[in-house]
Amino acid sequence: MSREPVPGELAEDPKLGELYRELQRDLEAAGSLPAIEDVRVAFLGRKGKITSLLQGIKDLVPEDRKRVGRLGNQLKGYAERALDEKAAAMGDLELEEALRREALDISLPGKCIQRGSRHLLSQIIEEIEDIFIGLGYQVVEGPEVELDYYNFEALNTPEWHPSKSLQDTFYIENPKGDYQDVLLRTQTSPVQVRVMETTPPPLYVISPGKAFRYDVPDATHSPMFHQVEGLVVDEGITLGDLKGTLEYFTKQMFGQERDIRFRPHFFPFTEPSAEVDVSCIICEGKGCRVCKGSGWLEILGCGMVDPNVYKYVGYDEESVSGFAFGMGVERIALLKYAVPDIRYFFDNDLRLLRQF
């Protein structure tokens, strides 16, 4: 509170004017909340100076009563305001000082509820599922231990077919009987056949899951891995639809700026077939170690469902057409998250699990 000149009317009365100046002086000198309270008592308390003044009005001559009463109340109102203001300011100051004494080292680590996480492969599978759900697909599953019929035969891969040698198969011994045709599925494609057997077209499905091939583990091979298989069968489905679908997927998964290349290829259960390359996400297509200098990364195999497959499941190849595609989840993870070794996914080292 700065010292102000005594307001006009109060100044006309030497006694009240002096009281005003005294209040100002005392208030200015008060440096703490208790000191302010002392001033309040001294002026406004039961025996305070202003209180006494007002109590003394009745003893004044009638002509002074009115004037002193008005000025006295004016002074009292002023004193109350000034005391409150000073006390509030002083309170803020003292609180501020008290808070300063509660300073924290905000660089100490936070106290968190420890978060766990889902496996990176599960997260990628979910991401893939969601992209295709958005395109109208449903998610279906099938067994990991399969019959030769679903894994090979009904997928147009007869016993003697050269492509069968491309996928070395684990065979399974059933403890209850000597069956030669039980195996670990080498691909998620057998789910295609199982779904078509039980469901008439139209069909828009994807099937994520584990697959197994006889590969000794190394940085790029694992005897167990994950695939996502896709299948569409409907009227009038074209190779252009396959291309558009996978372009959409690839850009969603790897970024809109990626280039995509469709190359003719061979798979026993699709025709025409293709492999899909995405422009290298490491070097952006300039050529590097990961893409072996080609600028392209192979990420998908696909094609139009071979009419022979329809024969196995009883679809009419003349009235419907469709496409199928398959992709390796680990490969996507290796590329997208720069994990250097496929074995890391199944070691489950906590220090890796924590990163995703």
């Binding site: 395109l135 231990v145 005897p223 409907d234 190779l239 025409p272 072996k292 906590l350």
Partner: protein, 803 residues
Amino acid sequence: MRVSLEWLSDYVDFEIDAQEIADLLTNSGTEVEKIETIGKGLEGFQVGLVLEVASHPRADRLSLCRVDIAGSIREVVCGAPNVKPGIKVPLAAPGSRLPNGTVIEEAVIRGISSHGMILSEKELGISEEASGIMVLDDAVEIGRDLASVLSMPDQVLVVEITPNRSDCLSMVGMAREVAALTGKQLKMPPSRVEEIAEPASGLVIIEILDPDLCSRYAARLIFSVKIGPSPWWIRRRLQAAGVRPISNVVDITNYVMLELGQPLHAFDYDLIEEGHIIVRRAKAGETLTTLDGVNRKLTEDSLLICDSKGAVALAGVMGGEESEVGERTSRILLESAHFDPPNIMRTARFQELPSEASYRFERGVDPNGCVRAADRAAELMRELAGGDVMAGAVDAHPRVIEPVEIDLRVARTGKLIGITLGSNEVADLLRSIELDMAGTKVEDGVEVVSVIVPTFRPDLEREIDLVEEVARLRGYQKISSTLPLTSKNIGGLSRGQKKMRSIGRTMAGEGLYEAITHAFISPRWLDILDPSRQYLPNDVFRVRNPISEEFSVMRPSLMPGLLETLRFNFNRRVTDLHLYEIGRVFLSDGDEKLPREPLRLGCIMSGEWFHKQWGGEREEADFYTIKGVLEELIGALNICDWDIRAKEFPFLHPAQSGLITIEGSEAGYIGTLHPRVAREAELPEKIAVMELDLESLIASSRDPRYREIPRFPAVQIDLAVVVAEDSSCARVEHVMREAGGPLLREVQLFDLYRGEQVGPGCKSLAFKLTFYALDRTLTDEEVMPLRDSIIETLRERFEARLR
């Protein structure tokens, strides 16, 4: 397949560079994996003629050579054993640099100056041959630049041929693709053969006893051959293709195989008994020693080439050692045959003997290309090995395989690809790969092109095969991208799939990390966990051909994989581990061929838990921690009817384990891992585990319903009761709820105390009881009698006393 461009240019005039050819091939289905350059850095070397060779006076193994390089004579010291006067050799002058970077300098070798160096193929960087200097063909001109004489450098496309494209396993096949893609004409190699008058027919008899496995067997006789090295152009082409040159006759069979795709075999005619070739299945117990020196037991479905005494070759796979062409051979019986692909595949697989020949036969070789290939090889043997070709091929052809005719519907082709096509465009595309058009017609109002497929394309059998040819030759890039109209279909997850996702999220939210472990485990785990198979099944599914014992049993439980993971981390000093896994286990399903594959949720917790931060108390995960995770999961899934009952499991601590039931059925176990198991598996002592059947969890998950929120204040009472140590908390709580009646809404344990104040054999359980009514504020007069009744009932049932 390795495709030398120098060689390829014999059959097609391409005017584009290697990268452009590679791109065209890759974009039409023949993927070029890489482009190699061979014979780099040969500029600056010259052809020299060795005039004289004298021995080095001070070194037995060195010779002094005088080498003529067109005008000037150089004196060179040479250490190669095969140097001799009259041969032409590659010579490096002082100052020139070898492809490996070594600079040739004037040198004094044991007192004699050497003005250059005669080079081996290895030093030239064109092969691994280092046993002697390279001997050039006699015909080369002295003094010429070596690179041009060797037609180097050359580029080799390393190409991945898909299993359907057997026709591309030859230079001519590759040239046919390149010609089609560049609009050029394919130039076939010459088929003319110059024969002597004497016919072969009287000298060879061919009998095919199993025509189902051998549709054709053609033989030619070439007499008076001189076995020796092949000329450079053959050697370099074989080397570029990755085939090692051996001798002229063998090299020619390989050369023609690489050129035309027809595997050939050269027998020493004098070692074929009576010139009699018999093609038949092997007999039981029959054996044959193949060219690689291995004596092979043959199965009865292997096809053999025999003479009148016995087997001389494993048909289509490898020749026999006894009838092998050697240095002294002068009369050749050349075989060019067609064998059944599946049979060759089985034999090569069974004998673990993949060869260039079997690789081609199992994918399919042109049955009508036998004679042409035999003629080509015979002519080369005449030209390069000085042989006399006996007149005529002896061609046994019991089963003729004709070209097939396929009708291709033009509109359907366009509809499948998603483009508009005309019949002319279709015909032009197919003609470019040498398919013939028998004509176009309209059938049922549909335009059809009739296509005749030559027998060198056995993969083209159906209309769809031709659709693919049209699509790939026209180019996938030119197909515009569309999306199917999926108005009939709505995407989404099933209820179970949504629950699965929420289970994963809940577990991660509880602070656990998801592990994915192998579906096959080591059988040792089953013995450690449950040696007498009380809980885990005895009849597990095994992998017949496991990579190793570690991956040989299909898991009947998720626990082994999780414990293995724990050990993996523990060994790497990661000791605080809280993991879950969602995966299938494999259980026998009665007499079914396939196992049941129920989905399980497995969970292990070991080491420090939750209070990780500074200042807090260190807390180890234990039974109650994992039980807390279970309770939260049950809560998240809103399962109302569940329980844990004490039960022993062989791999769990006998006094810290329970059976989880959901809606009355067994759904899994929970407990502390048995210390015996932990010790045997080299795991830390205290591990809390559980395993649950996910399908029963999901099936019992209910949608939550609204429960009225009390508007009137609740009354809370703390009650500490002392009960015997063996009284279960759940029972006490249950009795309190019964006695407390409907106004008792919550019973929450907040303290467990054992010690002096309660005496031995007892424990004190402290509960917070919450009472409220939905329609009024409860008074003490209402609550106190309930409290007294609870205390009284506990006293009766448990001899409980207040603390």
